[in-house]
Amino acid sequence: MNKEVSEFEPCWDLLRSSLVDIHTKNASRLSFEQLYRASYKIVLRKKGDLLYERVKIFEMEWFRDHIMPVITELVSNNLVSTALVQPSGSSAHERRETGEKFLRGIRDSWRDHNMSMNMIADVLMYLDRTYTADYKKPSIFATTIGLFRDNILRNTLGSAVQDLGEPFVIFDILNAVVLDLINMERDGDNIDRNLLRNITTMLESLYETDDELEKQKLYLTVFEPRFLESSRAFYRNESERLLRESDTGTWLRHTRRRLEEEHDRCGTTISHLTAEKIAAVIDAELIVSKLDDFLGMEGVGLKNMIDHDRIEDLTIVYNLVSRVDKTKMPLKNALQRRVMDLGVEVEKTLRETDFSNPSANVAADGDDGGDKPKAQTLNAAAQQTAAAIKWVDDVLRLKDKFDNLCVTCFNNDLVLQSAVTKSFSEFINLFKMSSEYVSLFIDDNLKRGNKGRSDAEIEVVLDKAIVLLRYLGDRDMFERYYQKHLARRLLHGKSEIETEKELARRMRAEMGNHFTHKFDGMFKDMEISKDLSDNYRDHIRNLGDADSRRVDLGIHVLTSNNWPPEATRSSQDEGSKWKGKGDCIFPPEIRRLQDSFFKYYLRNRSGRVLTWVPSAGSADIKCVFPKVPGKETGPLSKERRYELNVPTHGMVILMLFNDLPDGETLSFEEIQAKTNMSGTDLVRSLASLSIAPKARVLLKEPPTKNIKPADKFGFNPQFVSKAIKIKAPTLNGVSKVEGEEERKETEKKNDQTRQHVVDAAIVRIMKQRKNLSHIQLTTEIITQLSSRFKPDIGMIKRRIEDLLVREYLERTEGDSTVYRYLA
């Protein structure tokens, strides 16, 4: 027994004096091994519990005797009142000074305590490993560290309490001082960040209880909530102030700065643990609560930013909105509204723009520029085409603008991109003339040919065309217009076939075979026709008999299904009073030619009918104007030979004058009788030959600007032209914009076709599915036809009823909303 006690006490004495040395920073004289062995022996002798208690008591006494006095002195009345009451009398500077002094004191005492305890815990390692673990007590370190918390932080200081009248602890002062300093830094002051970090690290190392549970760090349980609350109040005030005093741009930048600042703070001044939470506070106070106010601000808000392409501002807006709202709803809505507004404005601008200025007349076909009587109507047509081009250009420019915004500011965000696309589709489809205008745009670009443009430029144009095509809802309308314009281009040779084919190829890729089916047919017809012409020419040549007066024939054979109706019929039913039936009467030489070709054509084919379309063809005529007697000088004194290019109708008319004696005239009605042409065609052709000076090979009596049935026409011997090759104005060569009535016509025809398409779709679907309810059927139809056009619900209903009547479908007996297919 004695031996045991005596073994314990010497060891304990050794340890106790070493504890003192350690606390007083005199540890260098000590031998670790010796102390370690001392505690080892104590534990082996089963006195671990005694040692544990003695150490604990020692530490408490040490606290009381050596550390507390220092702290108490730090906590002067001044400090308490400034920190907790914050009278307005004290300046920021003063508060900072006293605050930092206090914090430094706490920190230093903590540091010493921490270091000492680490050392002590190491020395008593054996005790911890065995006794403590076995008896499930907190480790030496935890216990003694906890003493710091209990004796210092949670200590109330007697005297100061009376002044305030309510209990508080040093911890409260500590928190208040730290938060005060942080707010000072937010306002721009410089503080000792390192000091604060030490304090917060200290709080991270202390726990609510000696169990040292992770989630119960004092930092998290006491400091952080207060920090977040104070920050919330701070930022709430700040956002109010910003709303009162500044504009959206400032607010954006300010918020961004604060976010960065707080993030930075979480590494340097307080713990990383708080990073997300403080970011959430800023999100809530600075962003969410005032977002709509700032974005909607007059003159500086989102609308303004979009209009003026404020890239940096928009990027910040995107980033901030993405933080708080995954759907980016406010931004999306604003963008969509703006696109719609700007799109509608494009249309408005169009209506208000005056296109009569020739410099705006970009679409004028070179040939048409010179005619004066026709100048007014042609200019009107050309004006409208110019309008079409402008509309397309404006829309494309708008698209470029928003695409640019999406790429540079919005990080190619899919949600926003699809929202913008949707709005574009919306306003484009609201505009009735969009299908037509897009086709005109393509027409204009392709007509100019490829000269002077690099491959890249052509690519760009084609890409733009396809882009616009994607937006169009009424694709079948577009198909109709495109077919019409394409026919004109092909028949008059106005564009490069390669480019046309390239575009058709892309359309096919984009919208499927059935869309380009007709166009491909047209291309094929053109190719076959070329071969046919060449072969025919060879055939004729081989027949021998070179006749100097033989007419050289170039032919285009059009398969009527592929080509638009305007190209394949002559304009007989265009509201003229001409009641004559039958085709145009051709001159005998031409008729011979036609028969010859017809025979050749039918050699290898049977069962086909060829119909000549004079409104689409042209003829090159060699003219001889003999010397005018009586003139010795000037151009009229010579014989003039010209080559005149006229439409087929024109050729038919001119040939009549070959047999006419000199000086005689033919009247309008006579010409009409001989040629069997309709009034409209006749007027057009005569006008181009007798009114405009460029090709005035006929004289008109009376020489008015309009053609009347009573007019007379004769050979003009005094015709002079600077050029040898003259082209009479082709009136069908320019694709012009349709007038109101024409457009309504086209729409009506289109609707009819659509009805057939819907019928076919209904039958197809029902055949496959046998039974379908009304709603399912409608949905199915809309889905299937979506790539062509958007069917009207009423129309679908009517078609279904029609099919019911025609007994393709019937209603089922049980449920009248379910249809059944009737074979």
Partner: protein, 105 residues
């Protein structure tokens, strides 16, 4: 005692004065020795750990074990370390003293 930064080697001194030089890294496998070397007491300053109650024969085996442990750390197919039977009991006691028990990783 020149202080030229943490030396790579440290010396373990037995009760009968034998010295064994081992890598610091190897020795710190023992939490006790590690504790000795990280605090600012005599051992840390001189890089010498004296064990007043461990004989040289045992300490030698300890030193061998520490090096062996470091060498074959995280390896497969490790050859056995030979410990003569008569020393086993003392080795166990010393192992406990030095914290080299199975709770270590």
């Amino acid at each position: 005692m020149a202080d030229d930064g943490p030396n790579k080697y440290i010396t373990l001194v037995s009760s009968d004065g034998f010295e064994f030089v081992v890598l610091r890294e190897a020795a710190c496998a023992s939490p006790t020795i590690a504790g000795m070397l990280r605090n600012q007491m005599v051992e840390a300053k001189t890089g010498r750990c004296s064990f007043a109650e461990i004989s040289s024969i045992i300490l030698e085996k300890v030193a061998e074990y520490l090096s062996y442990r470091l060498k074959y750390k995280d390896k497969l197919d490790v050859p056995d370390l030979d410990i003569p039977v008569e020393y086993c009991l003392e080795m166990i006691v010393v192992a406990d003293f030095l914290g080299l028990d199975e709770q270590m990783a």
